[in-house]
Point group: C2
Chain length 475, copies 2
């Protein structure tokens, strides 16, 4: 088994998921996958960060997986958005159920009937909860591990309720900041994009999405933040009594991140040799490889053990690979798993009290005094590595960006991401989609520094007032 070149991204992704033991794709139902132990440790490390961010101002809850059809159908726009993708439970044992039960595609209609009971007065607001759950989509398109699945195993969904549209909007901005922090932590660059009004979350007032660019030039939606206004509140009767004694509808937001964050982590940072993982989330943070040398095996082993004890004291998750494999085979194995720091110790290093250090993301090797390795040193290495990973990812994304100045320039987008000036009219939006055969992701809420266009021109279709829009093939 060897990994295909990452230039052939689709094959590379398919293989790395299996070979690095992220997921087993052989489960006997299309679109359902098994998390291997290694993959699940990575998942847990990443979600620990997400949870830490959420816990700052949200309470964790758990709502049922099964939603009665009657509730799911209450919000008419919402159900239209999900109708074709919902899995239906129709039987318990051999009995048909009185009311069909949907496997939650998302939890608005499970939660909001309860919110109507939980919220009585302004003192109950704001309400901010989240849960990390499995959700289900009957995908008929091509499925792909972590990206397009029938059981999303790790959907973090937050739901909030507020006194007014404005307060909910402040929450939208906070959510965007939280998600930025999360993706910065993972060294994953993103664009914050307002979806077209005709492509927003079903039932929302507007949707802001996080999109990143995968190595094949397709964008991947890795997070969404929705302002729901009082749309669901009206459907589910979520009212509060304000200070004056009047009853008003709450304004709501919801925002979610799924295991696509892991897909982005793998897809963006990985290389021809395997995973490249940030130190903080890597299931194995360091590997020690003793380099045997005739007659010196014992001293090499001792020095390796000493280093192992040190890493242990520092609380680092490491492997001391004393297997019979040759060093080359060991490099190969741990590179595939994305281990960020590799230590090699041979007879020369033993003599000088040093160790050869290299990082997963670069070719450079250097020597370090074992006694000088400390928490501070490791932290510095980790954050320098993250910085390099971020820069490299941004470089990759910059190469995918094109800046057509007229509609003709949209005709041969191929696997590029186009940043154009576009007005907000649906006609113009649909026109550029038709010409480019790509999807209009929407308009940049803020322009990342690595998007080069600084001045916004008029709409490249109608010449009206434009703002920066993004067109791409998307997953």
């Amino acid at each position: 088994m060897s990994l295909p070149s990452k230039d052939n991204f689709s094959e590379w992704y398919h293989e790395i998921i299996q070979q690095a033991e992220i997921m087993d794709i052989r489960y006997p139902v299309k679109g359902l996958y098994v998390w291997y132990p290694f993959g699940f440790r990575l998942r847990n490390n990443v979600y620990k960060k997400l949870r830490e961010i959420m816990d700052r101002e949200h309470d964790e809850v758990y709502f049922p997986t099964l939603i009665p059809e009657t509730e799911l159908r209450k919000e008419s726009e919402h159900i239209r958005g999900f109708e074709n993708e919902v899995y239906w439970v129709t039987h318990g044992g051999n009995d048909p159920l009185d009311v069909k039960l949907a496997l939650r595609p998302t939890s608005e209609t499970a939660m909001y009937p309860m919110f109507a009971l939980w919220i009585r007065s302004h003192a109950d607001l704001p309400l901010k909860v989240y849960q990390i759950v499995n959700t289900f989509r009957y995908e008929t398109k091509h499925t792909r591990p972590l990206i397009r699945l029938r059981e999303i195993t790790s959907f973090k969904e937050a739901h909030t309720a507020h006194k007014s549209f404005e307060e909910a909007e402040i929450q939208v901005k906070k959510a965007i900041e939280y998600y930025k922090e999360f993706y910065d932590f993972l060294a994953i660059p993103y664009m914050v994009i307002r979806r077209p009004d005709w492509d927003k979350f079903p039932g929302a007032a507007y949707t802001i999405a996080f999109d990143t660019i995968m190595p094949d030039g397709r964008t991947l939606q890795i997070g969404t933040v929705h302002h729901l206004a009082d749309n669901f509140a009206k459907t589910f009767g979520i009212l509060y009594e304000d200070v004056g004694g009047e009853h008003r509808y709450v304004h709501q937001t919801c925002y979610g991140i799924s295991e696509r964050c892991i897909a982005a982590l793998i897809g963006i940072h990985g290389d021809d040799n395997g995973l490249v993982l940030p130190f903080e989330v890597s299931p194995i943070q360091a590997v020690i490889i003793p380099i045997p040398y005739k007659g010196k095996d014992e001293v090499v082993r001792e020095a390796s053990k000493k280093l192992a004890n040190k890493l242990s004291d520092l609380g680092i998750k490491f492997v001391l690979d004393e297997s019979e494999d040759r060093p080359g085979a060991k490099y190969y194995k741990w590179e595939l798993k994305g281990v960020p720091i590799r230590f090699e110790i041979g007879p020369k290093e033993v003599e000088s009290g040093e160790v050869v250090v290299s990082f997963r993301d670069e070719k450079r090797k250097f020597k370090a005094k074992i006694e000088e390795i400390s928490s501070e040193v490791i932290s510095r290495w980790a954050s320098e590595m993250r910085e390099r990973m971020r820069k490299k990812a941004i470089e990759m994304m910059k190469q995918k960006l094109v800046y057509p100045k007229d509609v003709d320039g949209l005709k041969e987008l191929e696997r590029n991401v186009a940043v154009i000036s576009l007005c907000r009219n649906r006609e113009c939006g649909e026109y550029v989609e038709e010409i480019s055969k790509a999807r209009l992701l929407g308009w940049l809420e803020e322009t990342p520094w690595w998007v080069e266009v600084k001045e916004v021109d008029s709409c490249i279709v109608c010449g009206g007032k434009g703002s920066l829009a993004v067109l791409a093939k998307s997953y």
Copy 2:
């Protein structure tokens, strides 16, 4: 809202689940409940311990929720055991599915087809994995939060594979030790009972269960450990190549604990005033209540803040209740939530640098010097409290136990748990069930010290060789 007396256990349980904000029972589907933030924090604290125990020798994984009918039906005994309780997904959107999908009632049939791919040689054994997932049972009987539900939200299931029946049996014994550690940590007494052969897990060679006694005299099964022998291995073709090159079937075990552990925690330790929670798992570990006194409010507040800072430094999850409520109302509120340690500070305490301390499980109050409160002191308080809780729980259970010496004594068991001498024949087992109108839980694997019978007589039905059996009404 006030809590009914715990003497009326069923009502008390129903009320405390709501009033202490463990679960909201108003979700619009029978048998499905919503975890409130407070309840979910308790759940997370308890499962953190369970996870810590499992992580010592199991890898965490995640298998799909949806099991194709074809796999579920492969093991004929197994499916017979679950057939009437399985929820079936029959439609995706408006399309009928080719193969019906079951919502996992438990994951043997999801996991074992993959084990057949994962296990190749003796070097792959033992395999030990676990997952914490939601599982589903179409319950037609009376449902009850945490005890009998249609979506079990927090099922910890471990699955292991070994080279031989004997090695799997060693794992069974280890699992029993792990579960003992877990329930000792929660101060929940248990009986380790071997289920009758005709009442074991469908597909198992034998089943060992953990049963505890609830305050109404009904037993609650709070854990099970199954030896599966090579039954499933034969069905799913799980073979390994031994050192000699021969292919052999693995022998398997599985063992599980659900949120019934939380039901036991609440039901056994709680009292007329609310929850009583062990310090280690309580979402709020301490409360500080300033006792106001005209003209001294400021110094009392200052002293309370000082204590709060101290608890904060010690890493204790506490509340400083400075609300407008009167002290009595505050006591009531935090007792309901089971807060283990209460600190009260009035003007007298300020003068002497002391604080009034009381514990949730006893009436006693005493004074302690604030400066002497340390991690060690808190740890000692916590472990003494746990010891008291355990003793009290055992006392309660002892009172429910009866020791009939003949079958006549079984006729009026009512809400007692009978320990009798019984042989292993099915006829005798079914006879005592018929007479007592209770369930034969099985035979004690080991006799807890608080079960008084030491000598085992002959079977009280047939006079054959008996061993200690337990009969009870069970949840």
